[in-house]
């Protein structure tokens, strides 16, 4: 009866209780005293966009307390709003990318995804040159040569394409994911019910699910976080690339861009005619992934030079 023993080992923490309550099985263990008030606050926490300033402040304080208790480290949750007149766009120069995956690990370091199981928000695909163009079915995600780039191959990093017409937002049954005014598609990790409909709808495999309780060693934690970005996630919710919302909304570049050793990554304001991204779009040979689906990604692949 191993299973029964497992049952008794369940620690009665907030989240277990939440679920127990949902099942109506934890009736006797429901917290009623004041110390457990945060249980009900968490349970009845409103949708991010429904909260007033005061509500949000309180929620953020409570979440910071919870995180500190869980991760033994002070974590700050910011809530920088979208800057007016900004629509973020990303460019990726396929002629430069060498497939080193430094972007993958920079993202990993910046965005506090689970270490075990390991979650990556960027996938780098390897394609054979001279074959069918962007032949996803024959691409390789798990390539591991001694050295990159490998002759005869090219590489294509894929992450959330921040679609202007995002299928994931369309299908979410609870409006837990939406497109912000600066074009970033975000998720309220406290509102997502974990149905994974968005993952079925995403044509770019950009969404990740927390199949287990995310684990992050305290010394690897990025402590400056954004409510809609890199704050720690929960078991059973979906997460994704947010163009490093915690950085880009205060004028920094995304972590993946800074890590790129060959300058293949470009980022900027699509509404600013003088931005680097606008230059690339207007002057290079640009394409977007799966254009036939009319998702209008704000993630542009291009070729700075031919090879």
């Amino acid at each position: 009866m191993k299973r029964l023993r497992d049952l008794s080992e369940i620690k009665l923490d907030r989240r277990t209780l939440l679920k127990g309550a949902a099942l109506g099985l934890a009736g006797t263990a429901l917290p009623l005293n004041k110390a457990d008030a945060s249980f009900w606050e968490a349970f009845f926490q409103k949708h991010f966009r429904e909260m007033g300033k005061e509500d949000l402040k309180k929620v953020i304080e409570r979440l910071e307390r919870e995180y500190e208790k869980k991760y033994k480290k002070a974590i700050r949750i910011h809530n920088h709003p979208a800057m007016p007149g900004v629509l973020f766009g990303y460019g990726l120069d396929l002629s430069r990318c060498i497939g080193c995956r430094r972007c993958v690990y920079a993202c990993f370091k910046e965005n506090n995804p689970s270490r075990d199981p390991q979650i990556h928000l960027i996938t780098v695909l390897r394609f054979k040159k001279g074959d069918k163009w962007v032949d996803l079915e024959n691409s390789e995600k798990y390539y591991s040569p001694q050295q990159v780039p490998e002759p005869g191959y090219f590489y294509m990093p894929v992450q959330c394409q921040q679609c202007e017409n995002p299928p994931c937002v369309k299908v979410c049954p609870t409006q837990a994911t939406w497109k912000e005014p600066d074009g970033i598609v975000v998720i309220d990790y406290n509102w997502c019910i974990g149905c994974r409909y968005c993952m079925a709808a995403c044509p770019y495999g950009a969404r990740r699910f927390n199949w287990a309780e995310p684990s992050i060693p305290p010394d690897e934690m990025t402590t400056e976080t954004h409510y809609l970005g890199n704050r720690p996630r929960y078991k059973g919710v979906v997460e994704k690339c947010t163009f490093c919302i915690q950085r880009t909304r205060i004028g920094k570049y995304p972590a993946c861009l800074e890590a790129c050793p060959v300058g293949a990554r470009k980022f900027g304001n699509l509404l600013d005619p003088n931005s680097e991204i606008r230059y690339a779009i207007e002057n290079k040979r640009v394409f977007r992934l799966k254009e036939d689906l009319n998702t209008y990604p704000k993630f542009y692949y291009f070729f700075a030079y031919g090879r």
């Binding site: 199981p117 299908v171 049954p173 609870t174 409006q175 079925a200 770019y204 059973g236």
Partner: protein, 551 residues
């Protein structure tokens, strides 16, 4: 309140039963508890206990959900012939179909809940208190139609039972509008569920407009197939008599649905393989395997074979009117559709994934145990619903109003002649003539009334019925003298069932109403155990009224 008191009296029925009944409940409880413990483990550790991953993010749970929506939708397959075309043998059992719908939808909801990463947040799905994304998300639509269908069927079932428990006919003015809503709603639960997958251009395997029609086609085979098996169990284990005619009619309807289903499958297969674009990769994976990955190949061919075999078993009257082959066909269909429309539909949607990776999904033990647990919950729920409904349905449980004045006991012909279900038409005819009576109750071995054979039943049976369309086709391709023979000649096949019964203390007025409303000639009077104690015929009532007038 009388209603609540009576409800609890009826509810108490579920605690009374034979040893076999308790054993069955214990058997189901075992699997429910096992499933619960696996579910607690899943809650504790997360969905990592399943084999689902980012590449294949829906699996066994959603497959079961999809299959069961079909089963629920199939209740209309009884409702349409019963209420719209007034096909009496099916009308009498539509109630059991509606209970299947209630059970299936409940299971659907459970499968969705166990699939959720954050089940305690389920209220976020609701309008007003949550943030239901209506009309944009098809899942929001599904929440509405599924719950609507559940509530509607529950209302119909409990209303009909309520009326029956008072010994009254249900009011068509109440039931009819509900039925009229339930028919398009049944179609819509399945269409909306199909659209959940259908509306995703990211998944070419699902993004075909044939998905919704195929869903309906397969639903109208698998749901009725389950019901046919349930009906046979019900009539075996209880005193409800379900006519063979009803069963064969449903089997005939299954044949049409399976024909449509296979045709649509063929259309899909043609389009995918003939055009051969990159979008046909998932179906290639499903039927032939891809890059050496062949987990589904043998399953899907097995399912296809089962479906085709079942189609022919149901197409020919000879095999669908033989219980051996009929039940074989039912089992084939249930298995075939469960594979084809469960895992065979959900998983290839994710293989290869949107970036071309092939992750071969096969459910973990945990997932299988939880799935079995939910099926056990369904079986338990249906058993309890039956246990609750049957005594009311058969007339053993009645909450009659205390009688004043003339009651059945005063006017009935006591100690009626009865016959066994095996009596032949000739014998019954002789009996009716020799005793100069016009109808005779049929009792089972426990002396419980299971039906009634009247003169008109015998005359009616004597007239050859028009063969159904499929039978006509069957006649063309399968000449067989045996086939034209009449279905049967015994009381069991001739009788009208369930017989309309009343108690000895039922007032005259009540009897009168029943006879007029249901256009019947006589009512069998039974004691509390269902044993026949008398018959009140129209003549008896007339005599009483006459004597009243004289006074």
């Amino acid at each position: 309140m009388n209603i609540t008191k009576n409800f609890f009296i009826a509810l108490k029925q579920i605690t009374i039963g034979s040893k076999k009944y308790y054993f069955w409940l214990a058997f189901l409880s075992f699997f429910i508890l096992l499933g619960l413990s696996a579910y607690f483990d899943q809650l504790n550790r997360g969905l990592i206990t399943t084999a689902m991953r980012d590449q294949v993010s829906w699996g066994l749970y959603i497959s079961n959900f999809t299959f069961l929506v079909g089963v629920a939708a199939a209740a209309v397959y009884l409702v349409i012939p019963a209420y719209v075309y007034n096909f009496k043998p099916i009308k009498e059992i539509a109630l059991f179909g509606e209970m299947v719908a209630i059970t299936a939808i409940t299971m659907c909801i459970l499968f969705i809940i166990v699939d959720m990463g954050q089940p305690s947040r389920v209220w976020h799905l609701l309008p007003v208190i949550g943030a239901m994304n209506f009309p944009s998300s098809l899942l929001a639509w599904d929440v509405i139609v599924l719950n609507g269908y559940l509530v509607l069927n529950a209302i119909i079932v409990f209303y009909v039972l309520y009326r029956l428990s008072l010994g009254k006919e249900y009011r068509m003015s109440v039931v009819w509008p509900l039925i009229i809503i339930s028919i398009p709603l049944a179609v819509s639960i399945h269409t909306v569920t199909a659209f959940i997958y259908n509306g995703l251009p990211a998944r070419p395997f699902w993004n075909a407009s044939i998905v919704a029609p195929r869903f309906l086609g397969s639903a109208f085979c698998s749901g009725p197939a389950i019901m046919l098996i349930l009906f046979q169990i019900i009539r075996k284990l209880s005193d409800v008599d379900i006519e063979d005619r009803a069963i064969f009619k449903i089997a005939e309807l299954i044949a049409y649905a399976m024909g449509v289903n296979l045709f649509l499958l063929g259309a899909e297969v043609f389009k995918e393989f003939y055009s051969g674009s990159i979008h046909s990769v998932p179906i290639k994976y499903l039927y032939f395997g891809l890059h050496g990955k062949t987990a589904f190949v043998s399953w899907i061919w097995f399912a296809t074979l089962l479906n085709i075999t079942a189609f022919f078993l149901f197409l020919f009257p000879k095999t669908r009117q033989n219980f051996m082959t009929l039940n074989m066909g039912c089992v084939f269909i249930i298995m075939g559709i469960y594979i084809e429309k469960g895992m065979g539909l959900i998983v290839p949607g994710f293989i290869p994934d949107t970036l071309g990776e092939i992750y071969e999904y096969s459910p973990t033990m945990q997932e299988i145990i939880i799935t079995i647990g939910i099926w056990a919950v369904g079986a338990m729920l249906y058993t309890l619903l039956l246990k609750f409904a049957l005594p009311v349905y058969t007339g053993r449980l009645r909450f009659g109003i205390k009688a004043k004045g003339v009651v059945a006991r005063d006017i009935m012909t006591a100690k009626p002649v009865t016959i066994s279900p095996d009596e032949t038409a000739e014998e019954i005819g002789k009996l009716l003539i020799s005793r100069s009576i016009s109808g005779v109750p049929v009792v089972n071995s426990d002396n419980m009334v299971i039906g009634l054979v009247s003169e008109s039943d015998i005359i009616f049976k004597a007239i050859q019925e028009e063969p159904y369309f499929v039978e006509k086709v069957g006649e063309l391709i399968l000449p067989d003298e045996e086939r034209r023979k009449k279905l049967g000649n015994t009381a069991k096949e001739l009788m009208t069932s369930p017989a309309i019964t009343a108690f000895e203390d039922t007032p005259l007025e009540e009897l009168n109403k029943t006879i007029t409303n249901r256009k019947i000639k006589r009512i069998i009077i039974v004691d509390k155990e269902g044993h026949p104690v008398g018959i009140v015929s129209r003549a008896d009532i007339l005599k009483t009224l006459e004597s009243k007038i004289r006074k």
